[in-house]
């Protein structure tokens, strides 16, 4: 029991600060990936370097933005930051599709707003009970995780649905020809799309803590938090991500399905 209590205590040792020299040394790891890519002619050497530079610029920028938002501590700045994250994630999810369009942009945007927004509100108000309600130290990292996973769910649901509708064109028309509703005709396609959007998160629930320690938990432990506290946060995170993914993937599949049919319940000629 005492060992367990000790494990639950905060580590009082100061966190090791990283200098720019340390980051330069870390860049050596990128050189390994770059060298391997060039050596075997993988064709990703340039992308590895560009990706590394982008990640440095983006992370440093976001670091300064977060410092600013934390210092100013105003609710509207926090909300603006969350909305910006949502917009960028929406555009990224839609741009990944074979046929990105404005209609899908609207569907994904609203689905992610509902899926991610409701989850964040629930976690912030009922589970973590942040004070003040907009506390950026919690809301921004939590929303970052939520919106990142919701983005993947939306992209997977849309991509899979378009693929299923194209592959099942004959089956869907056979249902329609019997007098079935578009909901019934596309039921199996929608089911597959929702499933595809949820499977990666379900797999994560299955292996978390065994195959990998999640980033947030690792970060908290390095920052000196007790592993038990970190675990509790991680449990909340996993549950909230599952909810956000399920809501977003389901909404995208259900709403996107409508775009494949005309008001006269015909499968659109160009669908798929």
């Amino acid at each position: 029991m005492s060992a367990l209590l000790q494990a639950g205590q905060v580590d009082a040792r100061p966190i090791i600060e990283l200098s720019w020299l340390d980051l330069t040394l870390a860049a050596g790891l990128i050189l390994i990936a770059f060298g391997l890519s060039r050596w075997r002619g993988v064709g990703l050497g340039r992308d590895v370097v560009v990706g590394a530079i982008r990640s440095v610029v983006q992370l440093v920028l976001v670091g300064y933005v977060l410092v600013y938002i934390f210092a100013i501590d105003r609710w509207y700045l926090v909300v603006a930051a969350l909305l910006l994250m949502l917009v960028v994630a929406t555009k990224t999810a839609v741009d990944r599709q074979d046929k990105p369009n404005r209609e899908l942009l609207g569907i994904v945007g609203v689905a992610m707003l509902i899926g991610s927004g409701l989850t964040l509100i629930y976690v912030g108000a009922a589970v973590v009970r942040t004070d003040p309600w907009y506390d950026p130290r919690y809301l921004i990292p939590l929303f970052g995780m939520i919106v990142g996973n919701a983005m993947n769910a939306a992209a997977l649901a849309a991509e899979r649905l378009a693929g299923e509708v194209a592959a099942r064109r004959a089956e869907i028309e056979a249902y329609l020809a019997l007098g079935a509703s578009p909901v019934r005709a596309a039921q199996d396609a929608v089911r597959k799309a929702i499933r595809a959007s949820m499977i990666p998160m379900v797999n994560s629930l299955m292996v978390v803590g065994i195959v990998a320690l999640p980033g947030m938990m690792t970060g908290q432990i390095i920052a000196g938090a007790s592993p038990l506290t970190a675990v509790r946060y991680q449990i909340v995170v996993m549950f909230m991500l599952m909810a956000a993914v399920a809501v977003t993937g389901t909404l995208v599949a259900l709403w996107y399905r409508k775009t494949f049919f005309t008001p006269a319940e015909q499968l659109r000629y160009e669908a798929g």
Binding site: A170, E171, A174, Y175, L178, G179
Partner: protein, 248 residues
């Protein structure tokens, strides 16, 4: 005072129908009456517009211009699901849903809101009408032969109690002997059950043996339409004669 007999409206009346696909005019100014209670064949070379016309009749597609009436009523004014249950569709390539033959037929019954107590009887009845061996009812649908699948598709279309059956080249993927047997089944559906049938076919022999009314299409236009006997024996239309000589 003489009372004139009631005039039966045609099963389908098309007026000035035009359909375009990807900038190509598939049907152009098609005006046509398809009689009720008969087996009508849509014949013509590939690309004539037979399948496209058939798809317009139960609104799997809508024309870009013109009007289509089903028994006197504009199809756009009918609830589309009611129209589709009334005018069943059999596709060229049979499509089986997952599950057994019985489950395939039950799906159609559920879509057609058939009372649960009547479903079993209707399954047997529909399989009988489609001349599909009832011993196949519990076989996985995807394990049937192509001919059996096509009969299962006909049986499934009959589950909603249609008064009209639209059939898109139903014998195209069958060997001649199986096709001939299916042709007899189609004729039987019309004569014994009073189902109006509109059939797109490239088999002239089938059209002659099965159909009572024939419409020849070419390049999206109606070349000629009329009773089968008159059209096959007496028509002097050069395009029709050329087609008959080519495929006959």
């Amino acid at each position: 005072m003489s009372i004139s007999p009631p005039v039966t409206p045609p099963a389908f009346a098309l007026h000035g129908v035009r359909l375009e696909r990807a900038g190509v005019r598939v049907l152009d100014d098609v005006s046509l009456d398809i009689p009720d209670g008969q087996v009508t064949a849509l014949i013509g070379p590939s690309g004539a517009g037979k399948s496209s016309l058939l798809r317009l009749l139960n609104r799997l597609d809508d024309p870009d211009a013109g009007e289509i009436r089903c028994r006197g009523r504009p199809v756009v004014d009918m609830p589309v699901r009611q129209l589709r249950r009334q005018a069943g569709f059999v596709f060229q390539t049979p499509v089986m849903f997952p599950g057994t033959v019985r489950e395939n037929l039950e799906v159609a019954a559920n879509i057609g809101d058939l009372p649960a107590a009547e479903v079993s009887n209707r399954v047997v009845e529909s399989m009988g009408l489609a001349e599909l061996d009832t011993a196949l009812a519990d076989r996985a649908a995807d394990r049937l032969s192509v001919g059996e699948k096509q009969r299962a598709n006909i049986a499934r279309a009959l589950m909603t109690g249609p008064e009209i059956l639209l059939m898109d080249e139903p014998t195209a993927s069958l060997d001649p002997e199986t096709a001939e047997r299916l042709g007899r089944t189609i004729r039987h559906l019309s004569t014994a059950c009073g189902v109006t049938i509109v059939l797109a076919t490239h088999r002239l022999k089938e059209a002659k043996a099965v159909c009572t009314f024939v419409v020849m299409l070419d390049g999206g236009h109606v070349v000629e339409a009329g009773p089968a006997s008159a059209l096959f024996e007496e028509s002097a239309h050069p395009r029709l004669r050329a087609f008959l000589e080519r495929v006959g």
